[in-house]
């Protein structure tokens, strides 16, 4: 598969030798009428109207190829194969237009903060000089006072001191993908020649975990394989001492189901797997690491908000820009074959506000009304929210279905609800028992 063909950073540098030489300046960005970013509510909010949709996170595809050939990759192994036609590396002129569009968007909405995730493919294949220029170009186009948070999600195998110096220079947070120990990880995460990637990723994590670099480490992403032992995977990830991690359900839907997930079946292989990890992680005190999925779920059952689009009623506020400047909705819609999710929009011809009206972005129905009847009648709806949008898809019938993971999500949510309910009750008893001993008025 050509997606997995090794694409060396050196080869890339040769393609972009002019731009890459010696710290190229950021690309000039067309001027826009930038209002100061104040964080004030938009004019619409002043009129008690819901604020207009805006982009809170931009997933920027800086390189469209990968140096690994993971057999579970949603970018290369699913329905959308348009990556084959796209430039390997995002061009400087495209970056400049992205920066312009982003600056305009923030100014229009008076947003004071936005996050850009440098993504791929494998983003580090773009090389440190190109990434340096991208970040400086983006920052240079923001309205006065606006803050650009930058992250990069990498497979880790190219992560070295030079990249980390760049991350420190620009405050780039580094997320690394790893699926567990050597056996678990190398089941899927392999080089095109079949070699496993674990040893190289582990070396990168040891580097990233050093005291001088740890501040830049955002976390570990692990895609669940129910054939891997859940506790073995969890312990192997925690052994790297990540600040946080997340457990991702492999992408699939009702028409292209995930491995070992029988659409409509009542078995719960993923729910069981996740519950096993939860039960190992949750009781440990002090807390060893954060798990985004579980902490989001605990927050949701307590009436809070989710930190992941995999749960809760997520707003469609994440936009993707491909290396050719194409604007798309959330990247995981690639796993569906729904042509209506292809926007036909790009940064050269369309603003982000225009793009947000598309059905793959804020133009799609949201909230309970957008869900299937059985979801709206489900007692865990407020925590589940229908699960990840892409997981609700059925070919020819759209997204108004429960998640293909419905039984698994239900099993996990009910379990977490029981555990948290018992602990909250215990906290109540303890607080009431301690109350008389406390000074009056507290």
């Amino acid at each position: 598969m050509s997606a997995g063909a090794p694409t060396s950073a050196a080869a890339h540098h040769a393609d972009h030798a002019g731009a890459a030489a010696g710290g190229a300046p950021p690309e000039p960005v067309p001027a826009h009428r930038a209002a100061p970013a104040t964080g004030d509510p938009s004019p619409a909010a002043d009129n008690d109207m819901p604020p207009p949709p805006r982009v809170r996170q931009l997933v920027l595809k800086v390189h469209s190829r990968c140096n690994l050939a993971c057999d579970h990759c949603y970018v290369y192994r699913h329905a959308d194969q348009r990556w084959r036609e796209r430039p390997r590396v995002i061009a400087p002129g495209t970056v400049a237009r992205v920066a312009q569009r982003l600056g305009e968007h923030l100014a229009r909405h008076r947003s004071d903060r936005v996050r850009v995730v440098l993504h791929g493919g494998e983003p580090l294949l773009a090389g440190p000089t190109v990434l340096d220029r991208i970040v400086r170009t983006l920052r240079g186009a923001l309205p006065p006072g606006a803050v650009l948070d930058v992250g990069v999600q990498t497979n880790g195998v190219l992560l070295d001191d030079e990249f980390l110096a760049l991350c420190h220079r620009h405050g780039i947070d580094v997320g690394v993908s790893l699926d567990g120990d050597r056996a678990a990880n190398d089941r899927h995460r392999r080089y095109p020649d079949g070699r496993g990637s674990f040893a190289d990723v582990a070396a990168a994590l040891r580097l990233l975990g050093r005291p001088e670099h740890r501040s830049r480490w955002a976390g570990l992403l692990c895609t669940v394989d129910v054939d891997n032992d859940p506790l073995g995977v969890y312990e192997s990830l925690v052994a790297f001492d990540p600040p946080r991690l997340d457990l991702l359900l492999p992408h699939g839907n009702w028409s292209a189901p995930p491995p070992r997930r029988r659409p409509g079946g009542t078995d719960t292989p993923y729910g069981d797997w996740l519950v096993a990890v939860f039960d190992r992680w949750y009781p440990t005190a002090p807390r060893r690491t954060g798990i985004r999925l579980f902490e989001s779920l605990i927050a949701l059952v307590l009436g809070g908000r989710s930190g992941t689009r995999a749960l809760g009623f997520a707003e469609p506020d994440i936009m993707t820009v491909e290396t050719d400047g194409t604007i798309e909705g959330t990247d995981t819609l690639k796993t569906t074959d729904d042509a209506s999710m292809r926007t036909g929009l790009d940064v050269f011809r369309h603003s982000f506000d225009e793009a947000l009206r598309h059905p793959s972005l804020a133009g799609r129905p949201t909230g309970p009304a957008a869900l299937a009847d059985q979801c709206r009648a489900c007692p865990v709806l407020s925590a589940c929210g229908g699960g990840l949008y892409a997981h609700r898809f059925r070919a020819g019938a759209g997204f108004a279905h429960p998640s293909v993971y419905c039984p698994d999500l239900y099993r996990l949510i009910r379990h977490v609800q029981r555990v948290v309910a018992a602990d909250v009750e215990a906290l109540h008893r303890r607080a009431l028992a301690d109350a008389p001993a406390r000074p009056a008025g507290r």
């Binding site: 976390g219 991702l248 949750y282 902490e295 605990i298 927050a299 909230g367 709806l381 407020s382």
Partner: protein, 63 residues
Amino acid sequence: MADPQLPAPPVEAGAALVRLGDLPLADLLAGAGDGVLAHVLGTLAAGDEPGRQLDVSAFESSF
């Protein structure tokens, strides 16, 4: 899906499946120790979005 062991809570978005009750959150936190629940309660008390820090992406395929 039915679960007879747990009451059916409200289903609207944002509804709590576990209610914290009328005790001040600070009182609950005082006895919560330094485990996972204490961490999440702390973020709730701080008004943050638990599990979602400003410097971490909510896009599920990244941090």
